[in-house]
Amino acid sequence: MAQPENATSAAQSGPYDWIGSSVPKVDALDKALGITQYVGDMQMPGMLHARIRWSGVPHAIIRGIDTSEAVKVPGVRAVLTAGDIPGINRYGLAVQDQRVLADDKVRTAADPVALVAADTEQAAEEAITKIKLDLEPLRPILSIEDALDPTAPSIHESGNLFTRTTVRKGDLDQGVKESDVIVEETYRTHLMDHMAMETESSLAYMDPTGVLTIITSTQYPYRDRRQIAPALNLSMNKVRVVQAPIGGGFGRKDDITSEIHAGLLALKTQRPVRLVYTRRDSLIANTKRHPMLMKFRTGARSDGRLTFVDADIYGDTGAYLSLGAFVIKKAGIHACGPYDVPNIRVDTHTLYTNNLSSGAMRGFGVLQAAVAHESQMDQLAHRLGISPIDIRLINTLKPGLATGTGQVMDEGCGIEATVLRIKEYMESHDLRFTRS
């Protein structure tokens, strides 16, 4: 097996035949040759093309949807709205707050309202523009501050604060008392897109034995099946989900994206249906990275030892939860960073808004938390006149020490080794901080 001579020096094969060896990826050559078939590359005889009509406004009551002009577009085979769903018009990863197609209300500007399947993509595209929506606008909730306002209208029945989690350790007052320096700061992070180069896509068809088969760009076919079957009123063993080669996921394809829509159209038309999101569809719809508002207070003694972390984290999950409550809870669990912190108070708040919804994305809340805890570490270092490297080394978790949740570390705890590696790199390359 060919091995690039510059593969790496970090890990040699050692006693192993294959572990630690940089064999080329098993699927890479086909990708280089252009023969790998992603969903959008597939065709089937009689296949229809699908398009989605999005709501376009963030919060409104649906008074009516007029599809009469859309069905007249030549080549159109089906125009579907919520009433055409044979099963339960609800799904979601943690709670079932998403509609396959919007029914009572529109909760984001990217709610799917209607579906079209047609002989060509052009016909489907033309048809969705001819669907007329009669919407009665509602006051939209567009910020974390808005969502916290108890007088604001509720996006779901549950109210806009979906959940709150708390981390408590030690004695916060004691930590404050022992501090020689305290840094207080508010951080805000923004909405980010996964931007996998392959957009969300599914190809659905009835197989000869009557099983609805959905070939899709997904990170988890079994959970897709769990959500597809009830919406389409099929038993789960009559739904087959096949993971196609995926052109990037980064968390987005953890959720249902195109699967139920393609399946519904295939069921209704009894024809294969390919639904490939346009880049615009992908940019506006489905989950993003959570914007967070993070208020942090962190203390340290003059020797650099952390004394406490006191923080509130507010996450905007948009109109649908997806995995939002877990993302924001995970941010709270990781709010103290890879350090030994004796006294902790962290509250997290998962909030619904009418913004685009957020869910799993590479980093899963820990990235936002790290923006805050690492900026705090740096501020402490500067205030104390300790180098940013040293303040980390003073506080890193080590075997026998415990995380913010009291989990005692074993020999697998590697944080100190990574900081030391950076320190060595700086020394050997004569790199120095400007300000410390």
Partner: protein, 336 residues
């Protein structure tokens, strides 16, 4: 001088897998045909990060086969068992063990039959790269293909499956105290930036990423995760942003939503650290998310080191950085 340079560090830990009492399983079937070729039916999706390759490496290692004789079948509810999602940096960590288990059992079956063929104990045998050896001997006594053919001829079992549960109990609801995750990933990064104080433009000159892989099963793939993760972190720190206008997305084209190109991503130096994790396959840990988390804070800290101004809101766009510089100038706190 309108260009100022600075260095910044970011560190992080990341709970691998799901925690919170969420199902966190891996599973795979494995089967060896009469000619010694092996198929692994692995329910873990490969989005390009390489879990199919890791599965092939683990299976080849444990069975003792040549990797070119391993075929991995991708996730399909009809042919592969449920292996949970590929997310939470858990695929190698969880599915690696499930495949290890399946492959060990298959290996055992093969060695049992080989022991019968050569009238020895199965513990006296081992397999490497498609051949069976007496332990410590230099030349093989049979090929795995011959042994597999024999198992099939005798009607023996030449297949197995493996399952691994990485689920952990939820933390305490009031205090969040408890063992939140089975394991953690660890990483630190150094970023070097240059800030143009006339435009607010930040250029990342270099990133050094020290990521603890536990054991790098495929070092080039690990480096690929580190470099791709850092590039995504550069985008998050500096440019990428969805802009909503009264809830309506305005960044609905790649012309408006900017992602880093080959000209924006600097050299990314990979420092693979290996602190063995007793719970991972061959000591390996998850790295996909740890590779991306430290980049943004490292860049924000480097901006501070360069200009003495802390950017607390992301992304650090030229407008935001320039405005912060102007405000500092107005307060007399900025030295050009």
């Amino acid at each position: 001088m309108t260009k100022k340079r600075g260095l910044g560090v970011g560190s992080m830990f990341y709970g691998i897998g799901y925690g919170f009492n969420r199902a966190d399983i891996g599973s795979a079937y494995i089967e060896m045909a009469d000619d010694g070729t092996t198929t692994v039916y692995s329910g873990a999706c490969d989005m390009g990060q390489g879990i199919m390759t890791v599965v092939a490496q683990v299976a080849a290692e444990v069975v003792g086969a040549n990797i070119d004789t391993i075929r991995v079948v991708a996730a399909d509810t009809t042919s592969t068992p449920d292996a949970g999602p590929t997310s939470g940096s858990r695929a190698t960590f969880v599915q690696g063990i499930a495949v290890h288990e399946a492959a060990s059992d298959l290996h055992d079956q093969l060695m049992q039959t080989a022991a019968g063929m050569f009238e020895c104990e199965k513990d006296e045998l081992e397999a490497h790269n498609g051949d069976v050896y007496l332990k410590d001997a230099n030349s093989p006594i049979a090929s795995l293909a011959e042994v597999a053919a024999r198992v099939h001829l005798l009607g023996g079992r030449c297949a197995s499956w493996g399952w691994h549960d990485n689920s952990t109990a939820d933390v305490d609801p009031a205090t969040s105290q408890g063992d939140a995750y089975a394991s953690y990933g660890w990483a630190s990064q150094l970023a070097e930036v240059e800030v143009d104080t006339e435009t607010g433009h930040v250029k990342v000159l270099k990133i050094v990423s020290a990521t603890d892989a536990g054991k790098a099963i495929n070092p080039v793939a690990v480096e690929g995760q580190i470099q791709g993760g850092a590039a995504m972190g550069v985008g998050y720190a500096l440019y990428e942003q969805h802009i909503l206008d009264e809830g309506v997305p305005r960044t609905d084209s790649l012309a408006f939503y900017l992602v880093p190109t080959s000209m924006d991503v600097p050299e990314i130096q990979c420092e693979i650290v290996e602190v063995y994790d007793p719970k991972g396959p061959f000591g390996a840990k998850g790295i996909a998310e740890p590779a991306t988390v430290p980049t943004t804070p490292a860049i924000l800290n480097a901006i501070y080191d360069a200009i003495g101004i802390r950017i607390t809101d992301t992304p650090a766009t030229p407008e935001r950085v320039f405005q912060a510089i102007q405000e500092a100038r107005a307060r007399g706190e900025f030295k050009d």
